[in-house]
Subunit: 449 residues, 2 copies
């Protein structure tokens, strides 16, 4: 086989990039588990009908078929396709396994998803998502709408302070607020209005007003009100007064304002500066019915929202029970692939190994293995040099991988072993039963470039 070329849209990381990704996933997992979210995984494939909404496939999806069944007539009912997100499979999982789950059910799920979209930076055909959702049977209290962004921001804060990822700002809105406002203005097709306002970030307020008057035939005054509310963005609860000042009255608007104010109030206390009420956030065609979240990396706003979510009245329904939920999805690949490509993040080494145990001669390989095993028994990653080369070559082997320490003399008499820090050149006597590396060298670390 000649040298294969990368396939556009399917990012693959080198080992050092994978170390960064693993540490990101470890922090997400630890944060989610500290908050009582249980892990699940769902199969990669769903029946085509599960992936369609009201019979319509709105996403770019990949169907799968057994190669050796290619000749058979495809049976549409049994046709499987790769999941394009983790929400639809989770909904199916809740219906299928509901009898074995306790509600409200808190789950996290970190898996690859696939979309057949045109690849570009930040948009991939295969990418990793990390989702948290809380789903109730029949009902779910609104305090979970406050809980989800706190968990998400706690995770992002750790990614920022521990691994050097950029800090984030979460933009929050509430569908009830916008819908109530539109209803209060006398707009009947509120979904259509929401779709136009969703373009505010891309095309700006005046262009949105034109869409509203041109396509939806709203009056200039009503369109101006829609643009005015979309322009409100505050880091505290002062957005409530700004909305009130627009003079629209509606009970659903009141409900939305109260829910959003509670999210902002609690977040302002718990994670100051990280969450804003941003009344232009609509989340397009998604199935959200209340609070909606979007999240930007500070300094990388051009990447768009890298993590988002919201409240939905009905994640799933089996005809008897309806399951409302609130969830949030971290676009892990979407966040990491650009930061790794640009060298914004990297790892201190390309292997987990902390110590390379040098080999004097092939006759003493067993002694080197024994030394390595004693280091491992105390949690220190160690490998034995693959060849009894001259020591200079063995040091070079370690250096190329970023392994910080090389161990010498394991084949000699007891008490004559030494360990060299190949960065400084310092070499000291050491006992494999007690020597410890500096804490910062024990594991590969993520550093920002």
């Amino acid at each position: 086989m000649s040298r294969p070329k990368p396939i556009s849209g399917y990012p693959e990381f080198l080992p050092s990039g994978r170390i960064v990704e693993q540490q990101v996933l470890d922090i997400l997992r630890e944060t989610f588990e500290l908050h009582g979210f249980a892990s699940i995984e769902t199969r990669a494939m769903e029946p085509l009908e599960v992936l369609s909404r009201k019979g319509e496939i709105t996403k770019e999806i990949f169907t799968v078929r057994r190669l050796h069944a290619e000749a058979e007539e495809p049976n549409a009912a049994d046709q499987l396709a790769l999941h394009f997100d983790l929400t639809v499979p989770f909904a199916r999982y809740v219906l299928e396994h509901g009898g074995h789950l306790a509600f409200p059910f808190r789950r996290y799920q970190m898996q690859k998803v696939w979309r057949g979209e045109r690849p570009q930076e930040g948009r991939y055909r295969e990418f990793l998502q990390a989702d948290i959702d809380i789903v109730g049977a029949e009902n779910l209290a609104t305090h979970h709408d406050v809980e989800i962004p706190l968990v998400a921001l706690e995770a992002f804060e750790r990614l920022h302070t521990e691994l050097g990822l950029p800090p984030v700002v979460m933009h929050v809105n509430n569908r009830k607020l916008l819908q109530g406002f539109y209803e209060g203005l006398g707009i009947t097709d509120t979904a259509a209005a929401l779709q136009r306002v969703d373009k505010y970030d891309k095309i700006g307020g005046p262009a949105v007003a034109e869409l509203l008057t041109g396509e939806l035939r709203l009056t200039d005054e009503v369109a101006a009100q829609c643009v005015a509310i979309a322009g409100i963005c505050t880091a505290d609860t002062s957005f409530v007064d700004q909305v009130r000042a627009l003079g629209v009255e509606n009970p659903l608007l009141d409900e939305g304002l109260a829910e959003l104010a509670e999210v902002v109030r609690v977040a302002q206390e718990a994670v100051p500066g990280r969450l804003v009420a941003d009344l232009k956030i609509a989340r397009g065609l998604d199935y959200y019915t209340g609070t909606v979240y979007e999240t930007e990396l500070v300094g990388h706003e051009k990447m768009g929202s890298v993590a988002s979510g919201g409240r939905y009245d009905s994640l799933a329904s089996d005809g008897k029970v309806t399951y409302p939920g609130v969830g949030y999805s971290f676009g892990v690949t979407r966040i990491l692939a650009p930061l790794l490509n640009r060298g914004t993040l990297t790892a201190t080494r390309s292997v987990p190994t902390c110590v390379l145990v040098a080999v004097d001669s092939e006759d003493t390989r067993a002694a080197a293995i024994s030394t390595a095993q004693r280091l491992r028994a105390r949690g220190i990653s160690a490998e034995v040099a693959p060849k009894a080369d001259r020591f200079g070559k063995q040091i070079k082997y370690a250096d190329r991988r970023g392994i910080p320490f090389v161990w010498f003399g394991s084949g000699a008499d007891a008490g004559t072993e030494q360990v060299k820090d190949i960065r400084s050149g310092d070499q000291v006597d050491a006992d494999p039963n007690s020597w410890l590396p500096p804490a910062e060298d024990l594991h590969a670390r993520v550093v920002s470039g």
Copy 2:
């Protein structure tokens, strides 16, 4: 949507089963990393031509296609399919990224793979594999053939002692040994002989002899020799003398005997009783060229080999450089799905949560959140009761999930908080800044049922 049914061949675990799986994967990862294996992940899809060997597709594979491209003419050259193992994608990764890797390259990879085979217990259409491989550029020392089973057996030993999985016995052979023996007997089509001997376990020695004389037209005497060597199985290096006693002479046989003896000798010392030389192991049509490994769970031998691997002279070649390797693959789903289904393994709880913080009234939810946060800051998984129900109901909420502790009084004055072990009913004063659960309750544990 009505209640969906499981799809045969795609096992999905409940949260408690997933906890078992996660702890298995954690132990595998930790063991691999302690031995200096670097993690990589490859995309789920490969071009069809990469998945074929010499132009022939020997495995049951799934092709993928963009749904919205269904009408277009399929372009065979660009046709993608889901990988059916982790070895073929790793070979492609080595060729594609070889310029950025340092050899010998030690990697581990834990990902789902897909095969379109007829589903049955232990055989799935989607399953998780965990692979380790060491691959060299142009050459790779044979001591790595000894290293791989030691790493694998160390992992299995931890799975046995820490999580209660059954112990294992690894069966090892060497292709050179068999091939040299066959050549020494004057057999020309050694691959054909190997294929027949591979059925020894299923059909027994006499039936193998019949295949060899009937299908391959070997003499009764030669067939008897083939069956005799296949029947040799020893826990020490005494197999060498047993083979010698058959009186066949061949240099490749000598090489194979020496390599296998070294594996057995070292393993006997390092992990006594866990590895045997078993001269009927052939690994069918696989691409192995030297040492081969198979592994059975003691007491579950009917499941067959749940983890296997071997040495291959050429994992990949780009025309200039050939990459030999030695590797081993853990069939994680293959091991766990039957054990979870039979209840052989389970977890002490279905959630990560250690403490449920009870809520007196919705007015004091903030205080309960603060208590939970103080517990989490010290690594204790905590969640806040979703509803200010009467305490009996809140305790029942915890009980249904297996959460061992419920915290009371967070909304009251300082110094009046208490924690109840809901299993014993014991309730004691506690401070969220200092209380610790017993070590065995901090995380969900895997227990054998």
